[in-house]
Symmetry: C2
Subunit: 248 residues, 2 copies
């Protein structure tokens, strides 16, 4: 485990697993070289808080490996996840002094980090980074808006089905293409984290997962491993438009 971290520390951007879709994906060789000089890797244990809401924001960066969550907590303890950060996702808010939300490692997480000030200078000069960042933020905004529909209008069952579909899709698009093999993967989130994602209690999450399993939409191995025998049938349970959809 720590071995891979060490490898990452010495690896150059050419070997980077998220090269194709991260903020730096549009960079010219000379820009990459500049980034290379600025970057540092850091790995966080599962459960560790990477950034506290309200903290001074020292760095920004990309998730290289693992899954992190963005979340908000009310005084009385109610918590809502507001972002799910998978490999290649961007962490941090250039132009803001303080972090608006908690960033927590859901699994072991490796970040590729830049000092915020350095990065802010960079996006003033490098159109490649700035335009890619804008594009990524627009995508996140769209995702946040889909998520709002889920939170505001979907039933518990639809929420669970949606979450499983979302994770399955992102997993598939990142991993090696697996042809028509049956879809299966590990949930990177605990039941409680899923509840925080969906605006439910963990008991309701558990019940609905059991229900989807009873009805044959998913198969469970252990608590975390999920197999989807018929993806389209599960998509039907999400409440979303199945036929194509209009998001370009």
């Amino acid at each position: 485990m720590f071995k891979s971290v060490t490898n990452l520390k010495t690896s150059d951007c050419g070997d980077c697993p998220i090269q194709a879709s991260a903020v730096c994906s549009r960079c010219e060789p000379d820009e990459l070289e500049a980034l290379e000089r600025l970057k540092t890797y850091k790995t966080y244990a599962a459960g560790q808080t990477i950034i506290w809401a309200g903290d001074e924001l020292q760095f920004v960066g990309s998730v290289v490996k693992g899954v992190a969550t963005l979340s908000q907590t009310m005084e009385d303890g109610r918590r809502q996840m507001v972002g799910l950060l998978l490999p290649s996702d961007f962490v941090g808010r250039p132009g803001r002094q303080h972090a608006p939300f908690d960033v927590i490692a859901a699994t072991e997480v490796t970040l590729c980090r830049f000092h915020k000030a350095d990065f802010e200078n960079l996006i003033k000069t490098s159109t490649a980074v700035a335009s890619r960042l804008l594009e990524m933020m627009l995508d996140e905004l769209d995702a946040a808006r889909e998520w709002m529909l889920l939170l505001g209008r979907k039933t518990a069952r639809e929420k669970i089905a949606s979450l499983i579909v979302i994770i399955a899709r992102r997993d598939k698009s990142l991993g090696p293409f697996e042809g028509n093999s049956r879809i299966q993967f590990d949930l990177p989130l605990s039941r409680e984290a899923m509840a925080d994602y969906l605006g439910l209690t963990l008991e309701t999450v558990s019940r609905q997962i059991s229900s989807l399993k009873r009805d044959g939409f998913i198969e469970l191995t252990g608590k975390r491993h999920i197999a989807i025998p018929d993806f389209a049938r599960l998509e039907n349970e999400t409440g979303d438009d199945t036929d194509g959809g209009m998001l370009a």
Copy 2:
């Protein structure tokens, strides 16, 4: 009414009411001149759909006057608002072919529009526009995430109180400064639109407004005009951290 629109058509950017905070707020004189040549104003009646989800996206622009909503509808009719566009807010998604959401005029709305292709060229060359747009999108993302907390975890009463506070704040920050005069304004949204914003039914919205009124947190004149005798006391009902808050 149409008079003011006509005025806008001939007005130059120097007279623009949203100049200070729109996408163009950082432009140099020569950039403004370029924008000036590209822009066209268009006014939409209250209730009119400005853009349909799935439509080819022809233009982008700024809200100059009025209030528009971004929303999503499920096949069975459930609807969730996912954006509230007030004067100076940006409309459209550079880099996307099709509109992901419906844009609907809640009141009469005037847009300052640019052909999408023109605008996309512009942000390739003008750092001023591109960086301001990035900043605005980051702010919208933060707002969307606050909204997610509201949708996922707040009670009906907290949701209503939050909405009133949000509208009061935005109203105040845009209009002329009114010193310590008691806060009052017109709700730009119908009960149904408020329900779509908050993930509630319109009946629940109505009941909670009545309840806040009964308890003296707000005063109603007609259906739409609201006065807030004690703003801090209303803020207490939102469930949010009142003491300062950490958002820089």
